[in-house]
Symmetry: C2
Subunit: 195 residues, 2 copies
DNA sequence: GCACGATCTTAACAATTGTCATCGTCCTTT
DNA sequence: AAAGGACGATGACAATTGTTAAGATCGTGC
């Protein structure tokens, strides 16, 4: 029987039926409504989550207490704060649902046990971490080399669904600009399209 | 006998003497002069490097063919392009020595063999990858939330040695601004200090 | 030592983005 | 239906950074 989490795992490694069951059983199944937290601000991140359905916004509060949206996780991707997970200290981030979200969670301890028992799973974990690092790295590149309009164009091109699903003020925060600036950029793009 | 690479490994895992020797023997020892490449542009990255002494600049060429400095690796840190290493495709990056650099390199194959033989080494590899991801993530955060002057202040505070060792035009590129802008920012900071 | 090129500084002006204030729309709640 | 609030659009002005050009300084090689 198909399962979104096992489908994703299958893209990395092949598990025997009993291994797949043991893997799944280490996870809990959860559901949050729009506006509810997967990780509350100031709490310790103790799980790795897999988003089966829905959309999550990552943010953190800077020194001035401002919310800074830094990423979105839609269905099909993993989600955690590696720093907090490893150190056990409170996370600097919060995860909040932009849509009703269905997800699976595994605590660090059981995950480490699976890693120890099945080295292939650790290999998978390392690959997922690497991919996350690459995603973040690519985003950082974009910030260094591109101006806001180019970042927005690329965001629209690379994740067109998200443009529809994410309120513009969060898109603006993700792009590192103010909502007014995003409005201005969108207008310029509209004007340029239809002279 | 102390060895910079084993010293670094010892901060993650404890190796038996024979394991340490097997680990070391999988590496080759290398030396490049200032201005020489550890990874030439357009080549496949086939190794993970450990910088024992020296300083390396990472850059990549964007669509317009411009060099974009994205990071520096001083002595004591690991260095690779995970994307190219994993895919076997040409790297989008180049690594070039800013100073005479002494380093150790291990190809992907032997590393994977070590991972398979000693799961603790894979654990270490995963941790190093996570740390790299966190470093990059933190840098991306800084770009989203801070203006250029703040990014420069933090760079000076966090890596004061590098400010001395890296030519300013590369610092500017790393900060995502033009050399002229960095000059202006430095002047403003000097003026503010000594009125 | 000298000359050359690379690097850094400085200044004026242009482009981009931020800030502030206002307005309209849509949605929710009553 | 009315009131209120969140969201987005718009415009004027300020702050930041880019662009261009010129000159100063430094190091390197001849």
């Amino acid at each position: 029987m198909p399962h979104p989490l096992l489908d994703r795992v299958a893209t990395y490694i092949t598990l025997a039926e009993n291994e797949a069951q043991e893997f799944l059983q280490a996870f809990t199944e959860n559901q949050v409504a729009k506006g509810e937290y997967l990780l509350q601000p100031g709490k310790v991140c103790q799980h790795i989550h897999f988003i089966a359905e829905g959309l999550v916004r990552h943010y953190h509060a800077d020194e001035a207490g401002q919310e800074i949206t830094c990423d979105f996780t839609p269905e099909g991707r993993f989600l955690t704060d590696l720093m907090s997970l490893r150190s056990g200290e409170p996370s600097q981030y919060a995860f909040i649902a932009l849509e009703s979200t269905h997800y699976y969670s595994i605590p660090r301890g059981p995950l480490e046990q699976l890693y120890a028992k099945y080295p292939a799973m650790e290999t998978m974990g390392r690959q997922i971490t690497e991919e996350t690092a690459l995603r973040i790295s690519h985003q950082a590149q974009a910030f260094i080399t591109q101006k806001a309009e180019d970042r927005y164009r690329n965001f629209v091109r690379q994740q067109p669904e998200l443009v529809q699903r994410v309120p513009q003020k969060y898109v603006a925060a993700y792009l590192g600009i103010k909502p007014e600036s995003l409005s201005r950029i969108r207008k310029q793009m509209m004007d340029a399209e239809k002279p």
